[in-house]
Amino acid sequence: MRTRLRWMLPLCLFAAFAATLAQEGVAPEAKPPKQDRRMGTLFAEVSGWWVQPQGLEYTPVSEDYLVTFDSIAFPKGLKSLGAVGVTLDHDYQVEFRLKAGYALRDNHGEFSVTFWKLDDESYRAAFRPGAFVFGETLAAPYRAGAFEDGWADGFDAVARTKTQDVRVDYGRVAFSSPRAVGKWFVGYRNVLHDRSIVTSYYALAPNLPPLLPPLTTPRPDLDPLPDRARVESELQAQGLEGGMDFVFPIKGRFSVETGLSIAVLRGTLKTEYSSSNHYYALLDGEGQIIRILEPPFDEFEQRQDPTNPNSAPLVDRIRQFSLVTGYTVPRESTSPLIVEAYLGFRAKLWKDYLEMFAGVRNIRMSRVGADAQPLAVGQNSLRRQIVQGVSRVEHDADFEGYYLGLAVRF
């Protein structure tokens, strides 16, 4: 409710201000324009948007920072109980935003197509060999971690966010005065939004019993393999939008512009989850699993015949296996909401033909992503993973940043 009020108050003030300007404005006497037989004018805008994604909420690990000497989750001196989520940061990047259209003469309106897309990749890694302080938050909760307690001593995570936004609008001037011009528009909006994160959880220095002669020949295949998890979603949504643009001429060639649009979309969301954890198992002579080993893996040091120290080492019959868990929802209905606002200025560089514009733009996309993750995993008689419960968390996306561009009209 507080959030809505925060938006509503400026909007009301803005609308009242615009209406006042429209009423008191008197169009100046102007020379009769030169007769123009064209139906309208073409226009195009290209701008660089220095944009930073926000609110994507990629959290690949938690950190038990109380036992970490050099926490990555918290600055030194800050206190918290328990583990702390570690999130990924997203840098600013420049993306192009294109707009082209045709404006009919005599205020019959204008048609426009707007396009922008963003491909953001963020990376974070930390390695604390021997200090198992990173919680495997994305790994399936069955046999995660070298000691099967869900902790790792290192991780790396790559998150990728791809967004594409296409608008096809029709707009028309609602009011015009020397101090303000207001234009409404309605249209169709198509949004694609993919998000994915791939995380590897390492056991760099688990200090397991050494696999050196004479017990066995070196067995690099028994070095703990990193657990991996992948969480992703793909949105395809389209729907109607509407909004208002305002232009406030200031002096000479300069004007301030602002606008707001809201789109209510409907689409489909695909969510996917996969992870691979690992475990050690003792095999019989025919290669069948006798039992799964538990920490601290004393079997690595034992002999096949415990009473005979010269018998073959038990580790010869130990193998490392991957435990793959997957979960997919191929198609579910969703209703994202998109709110876009901008504020900037515009300057005419060459008559009405060439303009420069700059400002700040913010686009908030609600419910455009989701993370599905198993809550509990079991094994059936064929040792295949059975997902027994799933948590689903919806995600929003904010894109905010500064833009600078050129507009031509001909």
């Binding site: 021997g130 019993p209 017990l215």
Partner: protein, 254 residues
Amino acid sequence: MTRYGCLAIALAAMALNAGCDTEQPLQSGGQNLKIGFRSEAAMSVYNVWDTQVDIDGDGVTDRVLWCEAPVGPPTRPVDYPLNYSVSVELIPGGLPYPRRLSPAAAAEGFPSLTPYDEAVPGPAFPENKTVVAGSTTLQLTGGREITVANRDFIETPKIVAPDLGSICPFAPALDLGESNFAGRPAEFGVLMQRGDTVVVRARMFGNPGDRLQTASPPRLFGVMTLNGRAVTPAGSTSTTTDPGAGVTFSFTYR
């Protein structure tokens, strides 16, 4: 034009600020990490004397040892020369990829050897004496009290003649070689940068007590010092006394 210039400068400053976010470890001066292994076992103590006997029948007398029971306790826990296999890996700070520092051969065939008992020999009385062994009279000199783990005791032939009074536990001279760690004398040095981790794995010789007849089974344990100061690694630094036991430990310089 001035406005555009200011805008360009502001944009450039923000771009530079956005580009300075890193978690890479800071590089500073390296620290010297020394890794060593020792083995400890209860070893028999003897009063020994040097004497000259042609023990190999080549017509030339050889220095051999004459052993008698000590006055004090018959055994003492001392350094024990124990062969072991070892592997040392470095995980550079900020990377998940270990790099082996020790030669591959050090992990096979037990080429490394823990130090001998290098304690200063105790006195044995009298320092010199004469014994009659059958028809032979032996001049015993340099009496001293040493353990079986003493390198001189191991590498010198001994007279095993309990009936005559020499109770050495075994006769032959054994050549165990120089004490070494993966081919380096005594200790293995690693230059550590902040964030670096060293992982050490070792496994001792299968039945080490058989050679030197230890009074108690030996165990292998690792020692680490950073710039001369002892540090506490993660993991256990000491093996059990089981034959062929191994140990793995790691240390991160933070």
